[in-house]
């Protein structure tokens, strides 16, 4: 038996345009969003015989209705993949698609699969956060978790309390920066955004761009926004990822199969880690997850040349940067903008980070390693470390 570990490569990733909840994709089924991503991936990679796909792992946070019925399987069938291709659904709230990637990658590395599709979708229009939840009464009776920690905005306010040096002004400045970086990179981002039909009372349209970015955002504009989570608080709509509809999908393969089929190699997976933290301050999750992943890979934070960190809230990104002593405006961090600008359709965002990092790798042959990292509701963090195949420096 061959018990050696194989290299896992990220071949290609795509996403739908991200829409504002209740707007662009309100009438669009979540499964249709991710089906479009899967079909686009297959079209973009004609060298891949669809029957070679060993798994379709798809994430959604709320797995009911059009996000239920074992989405991985139903979407695979509806996307036109052969019936022989299996699929399943997966959930780790915001890190759903990231976990889909790490799950199938572990199986590829250990020779269980050769090729897999991983992705995620969230229609926050039709499945708002907390839909249908039924928290165990022991959470309150035994004071296991502060019930307020089920609201993500509250946990962001908690972070400001915990780290008084992260002020509202710093958060606002970060948000203005991410909007500007997005605006500067929008053409390049569009390379990986598939078009998506959307219907409303006004008829059909075909969406081609994200709906949410506010390129003209200024410090002055952000200064007086309401703080919906706490009176006289610090977290505003301007420093939080908006409620979003969208889907992502990517293609992963073992290095040899990719070579055999002539599939491009955009990134090589180095390793990953997930870590639990206090649910009340879930935003710090990326810190221990990243430390754990770096330690296992034998790397340090100084080896990382690009960071794609999910911007659930500006405060949570700043907590990560402070911990690793990285400047608020370090150009290695979210160089093409983040979720505050483009949106965060919960379970789909993990693959969005990866797709973006893959494109950035291609433009940065001087960078060898990058991370994708995100915080997760109820107190978790997830990090995946990637190696740049375009790296030209000394190894």
């Amino acid at each position: 038996m061959n018990d050696t570990i194989r290299d896992v490569v990220f071949v290609d990733g795509v996403r739908t345009p991200f829409g504002k909840a209740g707007k662009l994709f309100e009438e669009t089924r979540a499964d249709d969003l991710i089906i479009r991503c899967i079909r686009t991936l297959l079209r973009r990679n004609p060298g891949l015989p669809p029957e070679r796909v060993d798994e379709v792992a798809l994430a959604a946070t709320t797995q009911i209705g059009d996000q239920g019925l074992t989405l991985g399987r139903t979407a695979a069938l509806l996307a036109g993949l052969p019936r022989t291709v299996p699929g399943y659904s997966i959930d780790r709230m915001c890190a759903g698609a990231m976990t889909a990637v790490t799950n199938v990658s572990a199986a590829i590395a250990s020779r269980q699969y050769d090729i897999a599709i991983a992705g995620g979708v969230e229609s926050m229009s039709n499945h708002p956060m907390g839909e249908g939840v039924d928290p165990n009464p022991r959470i309150i009776a035994e004071k296991l978790v502060d019930p307020e920690a089920l609201n993500m905005g509250n946990t962001a306010e908690n972070l400001h309390d915990l780290f008084p040096s992260i002020t509202k002004e710093r958060a606002d400045a970060y948000a203005v920066g991410t909007q500007q970086r997005y605006a500067a990179a929008v053409e390049r981002l569009t390379e990986d955004i598939t078009t998506m039909a959307a219907r409303s009372d006004e008829g059909w349209t075909v969406a081609t761009a994200d709906e949410l970015p506010r390129p003209g955002t200024t410090l002055e504009g952000l200064a007086n926004l309401r703080t919906p989570f706490r009176p006289h608080g610090r977290v505003t709509a301007g420093t939080a990822a908006p409620l979003t509809d969208g889907a992502t999908a990517c293609l992963l393969a073992d290095a040899e199969t990719a070579a055999e089929l002539g599939l491009p190699v955009a990134m090589r997976m180095v390793g990953f880690a997930f870590s639990g933290v206090d649910p009340e301050t879930m935003g710090v999750g990326p810190i221990p997850a990243t430390e754990k992943a770096l330690a296992r890979a034998g790397l340090t934070i100084d080896d990382i040349g690009l960071f794609e960190i999910n911007e659930a809230f500006a405060v949570q990104v700043l907590a990560f940067l402070d911990h690793f002593k990285i400047a608020d405006d370090d150009p290695r961090v979210n160089p093409w903008g983040g979720a505050i600008a483009m949106g965060h359709p919960l379970a789909s965002s993990g693959v969005r980070l990866m797709t973006q990092l893959a494109r950035e790798f291609a433009e940065h042959p001087e960078v060898r390693y990058g991370v994708t990292t995100m915080c997760v509701g109820l107190g978790q963090g997830g990090t995946v470390i990637w190696e740049n195949p375009n790296f030209k420096g000394a190894k």
Binding site: I35, R36, R39, T40, L78, A79, G80, T190, T194, T195, M196, A197, R199, D201, E202, G203, W204, T205, V206, A207, T208
Partner: protein, 698 residues
């Protein structure tokens, strides 16, 4: 007539289709695109259609997009599953004058022409059903894409007595050639109104590209952008203009052979196809307007609409059926007999009800032979792809056969398909009744014997009902459902529920000889053979009804049914209904002949062999074809009147529905009675029309 379509008067009854406009900037277009969505606000069960209001909305939408700046592409599409189902058929009977019809025809042309003449490239994204005026809208666009999953496409106007009058008759032959266009415009409507599917359009040359439904709109737009930006050139096959006149002549001959030019619409459609070779678009449009206006106020269209609504409404909700709530669940079916008819019935029940079906016959050998036939039929279904491997396996597991009638012990319905002889059927039911559970339905497939007589010996006559299927049972859409005086409501309701599951149109009939269809066909044949007996040559009598456009001439019908069966029916009707159904000496002679009566060379045409011709004995009172026609029509009018008076059916509508579905009588006759009433024959025969001015709810 009006300056613009906006001046057309509205109809309150119109469900108005909106024409929503949205703009977008697709990558690579270098400008804006407009998508016009046709949507009546309902789901796909109420397809969008166009009346004056819908046309005006599209007109206004085109006003808007024509004024839009930097527009590089205009696309028209529909709500999910429906592109546009055409002109609103409900409004047409409301057109009160030829002028009104003409105005609507002209308005359609005026609106659609703008898509054709647009300086900005126009595209139809045919996402689903596109019929008649909807199909024609797509034809006016410069380019067309079609969804591979679209169903219900085509130009069915001729089937309801109209012509494709919003450009279809002129654009289509010039796009794909007159031969294929004639198939779509004339051939398909006259062939049980066959529709096209999405996958037919590119091979026919009607659509330029086909995309799968999953991301049809996105891929259509991407394709359209490439075409509009000049990146992709659309190539279409050149059409053969040389052979145009010969093709048209061939189509004329076909229409003559098939319906003997009885369909005014088919004849006008062929005229328009001929015109399309040389006419300018404007001349062609004028000719379409005139043809449409003529036909819309003509009797054939009125009759067709009546028939269309009849089939649609009564086909779904049979008149006189008790509440469906009374119907019993059928979990197992027994078929008595394992002959050909029994095998067909067993297979049909297994396919549609998906419950176990047991056949029995007198001995194991016959039972297994019957089963072998059914299995062979299942193999055929599988080989043709009409049953999946799994479905075929399921059918094989459902159908069984035995010589032991105890298999009926847990049946919920037992149907007999044994020899057409009252005593035989009575004996069968007597035996079966002793074996089945108390709730089990007993069903006879008799084509005309007295069911009351069959019930007379039963302990529970209330559970006996007639279900008369037509041969071949898998194909013929009609079943006559016959209750006796004793049949209870639950039994009758179950029979209708079963008919629905079998996907048959059920028409109720009282327990009178030969029920509806066979009685009327029997009367028709009685008049034809009567005319021959009196001295009319067969060749004259056989073509006498041609101008009605019935699906078969009388002698072809005799050949199909079989002479022995026809003679049997003739005797039976004579016995039960008297001298209106005389015992035709010639029919007897032909039925008893010990040599081939019909020419095998012209199979299905009802042509007598020379030997058979010499057998026919003509009297000395020859009639002309016109006189034979008159005789037959008077006979039919008289018979329908008797049937109404006897209560065989509650209304003439039921007669028409039965004749359309069971005998293929054409829409343009409205089945039968609208024609008899319109021609004054009913009144001449019995002093009043057959229909009581009853409307059909659509």
């Amino acid at each position: 007539m009006y300056a613009t379509p906006l001046d057309l008067p509205d109809f309150d009854e119109e469900v108005v289709t909106e024409a929503h406009v949205r703009y977008l900037e697709p990558r690579g277009l270098g400008g804006r695109a407009a998508i016009i969505t046709l949507d009546n606000g309902f789901d796909h069960t109420k397809p969008s259609s166009f009346g004056p209001g819908g046309l005006k909305n599209l007109w206004r939408a085109l006003d808007e997009v024509e004024a839009a700046e930097d527009l590089k592409l205009i696309a028209v599409t529909g709500k999910p599953f429906i592109f546009l189902a055409g002109a609103d058929i409900k409004l047409m009977p409301l057109l009160e004058s030829r002028e009104q019809g003409l105005a609507l025809a002209q308005a359609g042309h005026a609106v659609y022409k703008r898509l054709k003449d647009s300086a900005v490239p126009t595209f139809a994204f045919v996402n689903g059903t596109a019929l008649g005026g909807g199909f024609e809208l797509a034809l006016h666009c410069h380019y067309r894409t079609v969804s591979a999953s679209a169903v219900g496409l085509g130009l069915p106007e001729v089937s309801i007595g109209l012509i494709p009058g919003w450009g279809g008759s002129q654009i289509l032959p010039n796009l794909i050639g007159v031969e294929k266009a004639a198939q779509v415009i004339v051939g398909n409507p006259l062939n049980q109104n066959k529709m096209l599917r999405g996958t037919d359009l590119v091979p026919l040359g009607i659509a330029d590209a086909q995309f799968e439904a999953a991301d049809f709109l996105e891929e259509s737009l991407e394709w359209a952008v490439k075409v509009a930006s000049g990146e992709l050139a659309v190539e279409r096959a050149a059409i053969d203009r040389e052979s145009w006149p010969q093709v048209v002549a061939g189509v004329r001959k076909l229409v003559d052979e098939k319906v003997h030019n009885a369909s005014a619409a088919a004849v006008r459609a062929v005229d328009l196809l001929e015109l399309a070779r040389t006419a300018s678009f404007e001349e062609g449009s004028l000719a379409e307007d005139e043809a449409l206006a003529d036909l819309e106020v003509g009797p054939q269209f009125q009759a067709s609409i009546y028939a269309f609504n009849l089939v649609r409404a009564l086909g779904k909700r049979p008149e006189g059926a008790p509440s469906p709530g009374l119907a019993k669940e059928i979990g197992k079916v027994g078929v008595v007999g394992a002959g050909l008819m029994a095998g067909q019935i067993a297979l049909m029940f297994a396919r549609r009800l998906e419950v176990p079906v047991v056949m029995t016959d007198l001995d194991e050998d016959r039972a297994q032979k019957g089963l072998a036939y059914v299995r062979a039929e299942i193999d055929k279904l599988e080989a043709k792809g009409r049953a999946s491997k799994l479905k075929a396996a399921k059918l094989r597991s459902l159908v069984s056969a035995s010589a032991d009638k105890s298999v009926y012990g847990d049946c919920d319905l037992v149907i007999e398909a044994v020899f057409e002889e009252l005593k035989v059927k009575q004996a069968v039911f007597a035996e079966v009744e002793s074996l089945v559970p108390e709730e089990c339905l007993l069903v006879t497939n008799t084509s005309g014997l007295s069911i009351t007589a069959m019930a007379s010996g039963l302990a529970h006559p209330e559970r006996l009902v007639g279900m008369h299927f037509f041969n071949p049972v898998a194909v013929m859409p009609l079943v006559e459902v016959i209750a006796t005086e004793s049949t209870d409501a639950a039994t009758l309701s179950t029979a209708y529920a079963v008919a629905k599951k079998l996907k048959k149109t059920a028409v109720g009939s009282a327990d009178r000889p030969a029920f509806i269809v066979n009685r009327l066909l029997g009367r028709m044949l009685a008049e034809v053979t009567g005319a021959v007996d009196a001295g009319t040559p067969v060749e004259v009598a056989d073509v006498a009804l041609d101008e009605l456009g019935l699906p078969m001439r009388p002698f072809a019908l005799l050949e199909l049914v079989g002479l022995q069966v026809s003679w049997h029916l003739c005797q039976h009707l004579n016995e039960d209904l008297g001298p209106r159904f005389p015992l035709s000496e010639n029919l007897r002679l032909l039925a008893e002949a010990d040599f081939p009566v019909f020419d095998a060379e012209a199979k299905g045409k009802g042509r007598l062999t020379e030997a058979a011709k010499s057998l026919v004995k003509l009297g000395d009172e020859a009639s002309s074809a016109e006189e034979v026609k008159e005789r037959v029509l008077r006979g039919l009018a008289e018979e329908v009147r008797f049937m109404l008076d006897e209560g065989v059916v509650p209304s003439a509508k039921q007669v028409d529905l039965a004749m359309i579905m069971g005998a293929g009588f054409p829409f343009w006759l409205g089945g039968l009675t609208p024609y008899l009433d319109r021609e004054g024959i009913s009144t001449a025969v019995s002093g009043r029309p057959l229909a009581l001015g009853e409307a059909v709810d659509s």
